[in-house]
């Protein structure tokens, strides 16, 4: 008798699949220059309060040109002891004390450069797929980390004025929120227009998620 139906060969029926939330189109993860000021989807960077599925969309820090004033100051500090040849106002000191004065001066210069650099590297603004985060280190021991959910953002504007800012394309992005921190200010960040555009895209995406019921 011909086999009409063999249950062992029958493929198992698939369980009705749950609607899968499409992933947000955040772009590719990419390697970045460690000193970059505008990093899209940075690879290998995370922050303290990051949630498991949260992804950093943009990492922003002040434009590198804003470091110029302290860099000039640092160069002057490095060169300053050379002027002692022309203005010998430490000559009343014994040589040992003069030597110590110069060494202490260079140590202060080193720590000045290091502190300014640390401040630039770690004072960052993050835009993730869920919220905006502002990390500020005000001094050696005082830090402030504020964040706000994307859906609580009410208004985003940017300010860009002046010759230097126009030439180097950087400015301030002001974000008004309905959260505890009413205003977030991303100061002197590169490409402020694209940052505003990205935040607006994320707001629209967040609204769409709400409508479709895929809010995390």
């Amino acid at each position: 008798m011909p086999v009409v139906y063999n249950s062992s060969k029958a493929k198992p029926k698939k369980a009705p699949s749950q609607p899968v939330a499409p992933k947000k189109n955040l772009g590719k993860k990419r390697k970045h220059h460690p000193f970059a000021s505008f990093i899209k989807r940075p690879e290998g960077i995370s922050f303290e309060t990051q949630e498991k599925k949260e992804e950093i969309v943009l990492l922003l820090r002040r434009h590198w040109i804003t470091n110029l004033p302290w860099l000039v100051g640092a160069v002057l500090m490095v060169l300053a002891p050379l002027f002692l040849k022309f203005f010998p106002f430490l000559d009343f000191l014994p040589w040992r004390y003069r030597l110590m004065a110069v060494i202490i001066w260079y140590m202060l210069t080193l720590v000045f450069i290091f502190e300014k650099f640390l401040s630039w590297v770690f004072n960052v603004n993050l835009i993730t797929d869920e919220r905006i985060v502002d990390i500020d280190f005000y001094s050696l021991i005082y830090k402030e980390i504020s964040h706000c959910k994307i859906d609580r953002i009410q208004d985003v504007t940017y300010k860009m004025g002046g010759v230097i800012r126009t030439i180097f394309d950087y400015g301030d992005v002001v974000i008004q929120t309905a959260g505890e921190e009413p205003v977030f200010e991303f100061k002197a960040i590169p490409k402020p227009a694209s940052v505003v555009r990205k935040i607006n895209d994320l707001i629209v995406e967040e609204e769409r998620e709400k409508i479709e019921g895929r809010v995390r």
């Binding site: 303290e48 110590m100 990390i135 980390i145």
Partner: protein
């Protein structure tokens, strides 16, 4: 008796050399600087914890070199001043 005591006090104060005071002050400043260098190391660790993956070990290395320099300069000051 009291006059004798004050004479001794004034004499001992006069016998202290100005460079001796300068040395003590410099050592005090360098000692404070050493504490500051330790705080800088702690600060770098805290910053790295807040934002992980940004220039990790180079910054820690610089902070430790800075502490090493602070110790060296303190020792140098003790020896040469």
């Amino acid at each position: 008796m009291a006059n004798n005591f004050f004479d001794q006090l004034v004499n001992s104060l006069l016998s202290i050399q100005i460079w001796g005071i300068a040395k003590v002050l410099i050592l005090l400043v360098l000692l404070l600087y050493l504490v500051f260098a330790i705080v800088v190391i702690r600060q770098v660790h805290l910053m790295r914890r807040v934002l992980n993956g940004v220039l990790g070990w180079p910054l820690v290395t610089v902070a430790w070199i800075h502490l090493g320099l602070a110790v060296s300069v303190l020792l140098l000051a003790i020896v040469i001043l």
